[in-house]
């Protein structure tokens, strides 16, 4: 066999074995480091977002009696009606959800305990997108407007880009990199002391890949239409259907 052939064979002798073993260990370590780095980058995004927003006086949602939570659910359940998507999670949320994307809270142990006046439902859309609808109730319309201004701003949102949608009236669009490292499109609007958010995190690929194939534009088109399905949106004109 030629030398080159010999190079393709498993290494022989203690020296080569050690070298081989070291290479394997090195590769394993590099792999592990890559995983840790990826995990850390996501968790550090979340931590930095939470820290950032912690330093900002963000209005908190009211607390309500348990029986009132049903009305909040009703307010967002129509965002993806008739089982179009697969509902996978729901529950009460606090106002930090616009930055942290924290999961909804589980039901409280005591049936009489007051709950945060924020409710979120999450669905997997038929195309694999992650679609979220929130309603957040504040003490006053002024607080709701302040929250809207903060939540739809680039403040404490990674790679944020703002915009103004055609629908719903007085809505605000925001694209950002969420704490899970995924691109996300949000639409916010306030009605009285309530703020609504519909979000869509397009499925598949890196943020760059999502941008390249127009996933973000599609997500904005989707959420602006879905927002108009909410009874409180008061869309003046019938929005077009969600783009195919």
């Amino acid at each position: 066999m030629s030398d080159s052939d010999g190079d393709q064979r498993p290494p022989r002798g203690p020296g080569r074995r050690r070298l081989w073993a070291l290479s394997v260990v090195l590769l394993t370590c590099l792999g592990a480091a890559a995983v840790i780095a990826a995990t850390r980058s996501h968790s550090s995004v979340r931590v930095s977002a939470v820290r950032c927003i912690g330093a900002t006086p963000v209005p908190e949602v009211e607390r309500v009696a348990p029986r009132e939570v049903g009305g909040l659910r009703e307010a967002v359940a129509r965002a993806l009606p008739q089982r179009v998507g697969r509902l996978y999670e729901e529950g009460t949320v606090s106002s930090g959800v616009a930055w942290s994307d924290e999961e909804p809270h589980p039901p409280a142990l005591s049936p009489r305990q007051q709950r945060p006046a924020g409710y979120e439902m999450r669905w997997w859309a038929p195309n694999g997108d992650d679609v979220v609808a929130d309603v957040l109730v504040f003490a006053s319309p002024a607080q709701a407007r302040r929250y809207l201004a903060l939540a739809s701003s680039s403040r404490c949102h990674e790679q944020a880009v703002r915009g103004l949608p055609l629908h719903p009236p007085l809505g605000h669009n925001l694209s950002w990199l969420n704490p899970d490292g995924a691109l996300q499109a949000d639409v916010f609007f306030a009605r009285g002391s309530r703020v609504y958010r519909i979000a869509d995190a397009p499925a598949g690929g890196s943020p760059e890949a999502v941008r390249t194939r127009g996933g973000l534009d599609h997500a904005f088109a989707t959420i602006d239409v879905l927002a108009c399905l909410l009874p409180s949106a008061h869309c003046t004109a019938a929005p077009p259907a969600v783009p195919a």
Binding site: P66, R73, P81, R83, L109, A203, G204
Partner: protein, 309 residues
């Protein structure tokens, strides 16, 4: 054993409450023009999407597993399954002892009144299921209940029990019903024995037969039952191991409308010392969210821990 009867009751309740009754036909009308985007081949909203890197907030690893069942080849909402997930085991296997479960303190002899008080303290209420109201429970014929109970062997006598209201929320296709029940048996061993009987292949086939007969006889004449399948179901419960039970899938056709609607009935049991804590979820098109079932079972377990038997 009593799981079978309970599952049958849930199935019958579904048949009576939603399976083809007057409100089903309108709900099978075409959905509004909000079909979200194109559906790529093999795109299934559910478990597969959870591995999509672009997913917004990766939900916790699905803690619910449903081995494939006959007739479930392409459900509209695929059951979440986690191959190799901790806690998964072959269907029909014997129920494992839940850690700590036999150690549930029972300082005094169990009586019917204490058992009932425990059941009342643990049960789900309307506050636990946002948007739900108390719906009237349907009555299952006693003969069918007895028949289903035999699927898992002999039913152990109950010292005391209680059940929640039928908590119903949503309209039309979005409607789902959730309820719970607590049954106190003689001891933890009796519970374990009771639960192990209903998971055999023969037991599942038996449930399928009984359910099909029950649904056919009780459903509205304007609908047609196209098939019933039963599969084992497992749900992880934080701090309490896992609950095991059944997922029933009934496919119902509406003649003239050309629509087939799937009905899912989940019935899972969490052993807690001498008690069985049951959760039932019925839903159109897709099962009750795994996360919801998991959280409600965790809640029931926490309440059980907080109240002495």
């Amino acid at each position: 054993m009593r799981r079978g009867a309970a599952a049958l009751a849930a199935g019958a309740a579904l048949a009576a409450a939603g399976c083809g009754k007057s409100n089903l036909a309108p709900t099978t009308a075409p959905a509004p023009a909000v079909s979200v985007a194109k559906a790529p081949p093999q795109s299934t909203p559910g478990a597969p999407a959870q591995s999509v890197p672009g997913a917004q907030s990766a939900p916790a690893a699905p803690a619910q597993s449903v081995p494939a069942a006959p007739g479930q080849s392409a459900p509209a909402a695929p059951p979440q399954s986690t191959p190799g997930a901790p806690g998964r085991k072959p269907p029909g296997a014997r129920a494992p002892k839940v850690p700590g479960s036999p150690g549930v303190p029972v300082p005094l002899p169990l009586t019917a009144s204490r058992a009932a008080a425990f059941a009342r303290a643990v049960q789900l209420t309307t506050s636990d299921v946002p948007g739900a109201h108390d719906a009237a429970a349907s009555k299952t014929p006693a003969a069918r209940e007895r028949e289903a109970a035999q699927c898992g062997g002999h039913a152990a006598p109950t010292i005391g029990s209680g059940h929640s209201p039928e908590l119903q929320r949503g309209r039309g296709l979005e409607r789902e019903t959730i309820s719970s029940s607590v049954e106190v048996l003689r001891d933890a061993h009796t519970v374990e024995k009771s639960l192990s009987g209903s998971k055999s292949k023969g037991g599942l086939s038996c449930y399928e037969r009984v359910l099909a007969r029950s649904l056919q006889s009780e459903a509205d004449p304007n609908i047609k039952l196209l098939g019933v399948s039963v599969a084992p179901l497992q749900v992880s419960v934080a701090g309490a191991g896992r609950a095991e039970g059944l997922r029933i899938l009934a496919r119902v056709g509406v003649p003239g409308a050309g629509a087939v609607v799937k009905l899912f009935v989940d019935a899972v049991t969490l052993p807690y010392g001498p008690a069985e804590i049951d959760l039932f979820g019925t839903s159109f098109v897709q099962p009750v969210a795994a996360r919801t079932e998991q959280e409600l079972l965790t809640l029931l377990h926490q309440r059980a821990l907080a109240h002495k038997l």
